[in-house]
């Protein structure tokens, strides 16, 4: 009995140890991979058409979902915000509330989450499938570095697309809030824009939002290309890598957002 228990505990401990060393080892590989991508980045810009193609797939094709989501998020914020603000007779403050929440938080975060599930998963699946069908190995045989040719353009395509998508999301959200707040509810348009302009500053509000979206772009892009490159070369491996991309990217975005918000907006209003 006790011998059985001991074996059970030992095997459990062994599995725990294997998981921990496996995770730490993968983190180390990911860091090495990031440095490799950065070192080989000049290739992505020397053959600019490769990067442009990836901006097209990651950015242009994400436009519809980003713009539509932004519009609806702005409209909902406007409805809910007005409901609460009007209790205090402050319905005209709607503009500043919507603009600050979109520019500081919701724009970068929601655009990042959508970007991870729309573009990040596609990048992982594409690279993973290239690995499965041995296209990456074939490139190496032809003395073409797959990191320079396949990974770096996708990485930079994502990094460049993400801030633009976040800005579009915020702008569209403010437009949606304008439609609901001013056109439907009937807040005075002058008060809506005036309160917004008085309360939102380019520095630090808008610039911090842009910095956030750049960081999210870097995080999502490196996670996507790494998971694709590291995927097990089987159908199952690609599917689980795609899932991991979305899960890890989303968690990374939310955690990074908390850390950056704590740094950026700590001093405001004090």
């Amino acid at each position: 009995m006790s011998a059985e228990l001991a074996t059970g505990v030992f095997s459990w401990l062994r599995r725990l140890g294997a998981t921990v060393t496996g995770t730490v080892g993968k983190l180390g590989y990911a860091s090495r991979f990031l440095i490799m991508v950065l070192v080989l980045s000049p290739h992505a810009f020397r053959r600019l058409h490769l990067t442009l193609r990836e901006i097209y797939f990651a950015g242009v094709l994400s436009l519809v979902i980003i713009l539509m989501s932004g519009l609806f998020v702005g409209m909902v914020l406007s409805l809910q915000g007005y409901e609460v603000l009007s209790r205090y007779g402050a319905g005209e403050q709607l503009g500043i509330m919507v603009a600050l929440s979109l520019v500081r938080e919701l724009g970068p975060v929601v655009a990042g989450l959508l970007f991870a599930s729309r573009a990040g998963s596609a990048i992982t699946a594409e690279i993973g499938l290239m690995k499965t069908t041995e296209q990456l190995a074939a490139m190496e045989m032809m003395a073409v570095d797959p990191v320079a040719r396949v990974v770096a353009p996708r990485f930079w395509g994502g990094v460049i697309s993400m801030p633009l998508l976040a800005a579009l999301f915020s702008a569209m959200g403010i437009f949606g809030a304008y439609i609901v707040g001013v056109r439907l509810i009937g807040i005075d348009a002058g008060a809506f824009w005036g309160q917004m302009q008085a309360g939102v500053d380019f520095w630090p509000d808008v610039t911090n939002g842009i910095i956030k979206s750049v960081v999210f772009g870097l995080a999502v892009s490196i996670i996507s290309v790494f998971e694709g490159y590291d995927a097990k070369p089987t159908a199952e491996g690609v599917s689980s890598a795609t899932t991991r991309t979305v899960v890890i990217s989303s968690l990374a975005i939310l955690a990074l957002d908390f850390v950056m918000t704590a740094f950026m907006f700590r001093g405001i209003g004090a």
């Binding site: 058409h49 442009l52 193609r53 901006i55 097209y56 950015g59 242009v60 436009l63 205090y88 402050a90 603009a99 520019v103 697309s161 801030p163 633009l164 998508l165 800005a167 579009l168 915020s170 702008a171 569209m172 403010i174 824009w193 917004m196 302009q197 008085a198 939102v200 500053d201 380019f202 509000d205 808008v206 939002g209 842009i210 209003g269």
Partner: protein, 155 residues
């Protein structure tokens, strides 16, 4: 998708993306007014600034003419020294009174400037001679209760 079509789409995407950033900067963040406008500095010391914050508006007759740039405590007199940046094209007479007001009951706190009749105007770095501190509601209520109590005692 051939290469020129992709170039075109990426061009459109980057253009509207930068347009969105420009929209956030100009229409939402109001980048080109007030904060960037050249101006001059005025100082005013108050016994109590209430809830005044840095970047609060400075208003004359309700019109925003500048922003609060910094707030510090004068350790000799224990008064709050408020530095304001006033728009270049607005001049105030030497006997201008600065007061700390609140717009509405829950509204923002701002510095109000009431111009006087003096012909000499305030220059960069000048200090306003007359100021009126923020009204602290707790003190007002305390005063009111105290008066009521003393009235009752007389009867």
């Amino acid at each position: 998708m051939n290469r020129s079509a992709i170039d075109l789409w990426v061009g459109i995407f980057v253009t509207i993306g930068l347009g969105a950033i420009l929209f956030l900067g100009l229409k939402v963040g109001n980048l080109l007014t007030l904060d960037r406008a050249p101006g001059y500095r005025l100082e005013a010391s108050f016994d109590n600034i209430g809830g005044l914050k840095v970047r609060a508006p400075v208003k004359a007759a309700g019109v925003v003419v500048g922003r609060v740039e910094s707030i510090r405590l004068d350790t000799k007199t224990y008064e709050a020294v408020v530095t304001m940046r006033i728009n270049q094209d607005v001049a105030f007479s030497k006997d201008t009174i600065a007061s700390i007001n609140t717009s509405g009951l829950l509204g923002e706190v701002y510095v109000g400037l009431d111009a006087g009749g003096d012909t000499a105007v305030l220059m960069n770095g000048d200090r306003l001679a007359k100021t009126q501190s923020a009204v602290v509601i707790e003190k007002l209520i305390g005063q009111f209760l105290f008066d009521k109590a003393s009235e009752g005692a007389k009867k």
